[in-house]
Point group: C3
Chain length 151, copies 3
């Protein structure tokens, strides 16, 4: 354990995990806040404890709520890969420069992805999604190369 | 590896991961069971292999099915954060008491969250969700403090 | 760290994580490709930067798009469990044979699950889903047994 904390890459990984986890919580809270704002709820029991004029949602969610949910879900689909591949990259002893680039680029790209998603900015959203995905592919390549080198 | 198993916090983490993973499987199985119960399927090929009077779903899912799916999805959005932050907390050497509290409180709150979600109990659902989220924030704070102390 | 790379089970775990993470990216890309193919987008800003005759989706997603999304989501619901339980299994020192079987069976079953989901093959889809879930339960049992043996 002490050896991991002495590893600068591990510290960067830990901080990136904290930042992106916090972003997940913020996106979840934003969904709830936007839904409360529309006074439109998914569960009958929520209507009872909410505002007097709250009502159950009929049909699809309001576009503003659905947008934040998609940003949230999109992060939820790539964050577990980052958690697993980031840790593996450090545990297999990939090059420190490669680790720093992949961790930093993924974290930056995913923060910007959520911001441009909520603000409806294209083609930047697609671009930041692609950059995040390429960081993950870079991590995969380095993990496989390190495993093969150790074989 | 031996050092990790000698760490009581690591054992608690391992058991909490097993409990919450099992809960994920249970929620997935409940969704399938409720859908089979309504004899309403999402995929045409499922209708063929299911009951004789099964039919393809039209429009939205039945509220009972949708409710379990939301409980499942809600856990799926916070469990990866717990897996990553819980392990990091131990690896950075956070205080044993802090680790025990965060792991135990999150696990208890998320079990109760699923139970009250399915049983439509408010405001307890929102409260257990909040408790789970605050445990995650507590983990984030302790990870960042440990990383800074080691810097 | 060196001890982990000297562990053959850890190398298998790393390779399985890379394969299944790549599968997640492929399923995400397939969803986007199928949606572009239908020229039906979820976001108004996507319509502007896409093909001239692209339009905003009305009502539900096209069944082809929804199918790939369900395969994607299904993997997203079990992959974080595999990441966490697979690593734990190695860290608690479960039997190498048990680790090899669980890692290999889960990875194979989940690859086949996505393939048969997209190709609408039942009852194979349910069968591969069940095999994947039983691998996870096998991992849970071995983790708990190892933790108890070390207590």
């Amino acid at each position: 354990m002490l050896t991991l904390l002495a590893n600068p890459q591990f510290k960067i990984y830990a901080v990136c995990c904290v930042i992106l986890s916090f972003q997940m919580l913020v996106l979840g809270a934003m969904t709830a806040a936007k839904r409360a704002n529309r006074k439109n709820y998914l569960n009958p029991e929520d209507v009872k404890v909410a505002f007097k004029d709250a009502k159950l949602i009929e049909g699809a969610e309001h576009p503003d709520v659905a947008r934040v949910m998609r940003a949230h879900r999109n992060l939820n689909e790539s964050l577990p890969l980052f958690f697993a591949l980031g840790l593996l990259m450090i545990l297999v002893g990939a090059s420190p420069l490669g680790v720093n680039i992949c961790l930093g680029v993924f974290t930056g790209a995913r923060i910007l992805h959520s911001i441009v998603y909520i603000n409806e900015v294209q083609p930047w959203r697609t671009m930041f999604f692609a950059i995040g995905s390429f960081s993950l592919i870079g991590m995969m390549v380095q993990i496989v190369l390190s495993v093969l080198a150790a074989a």
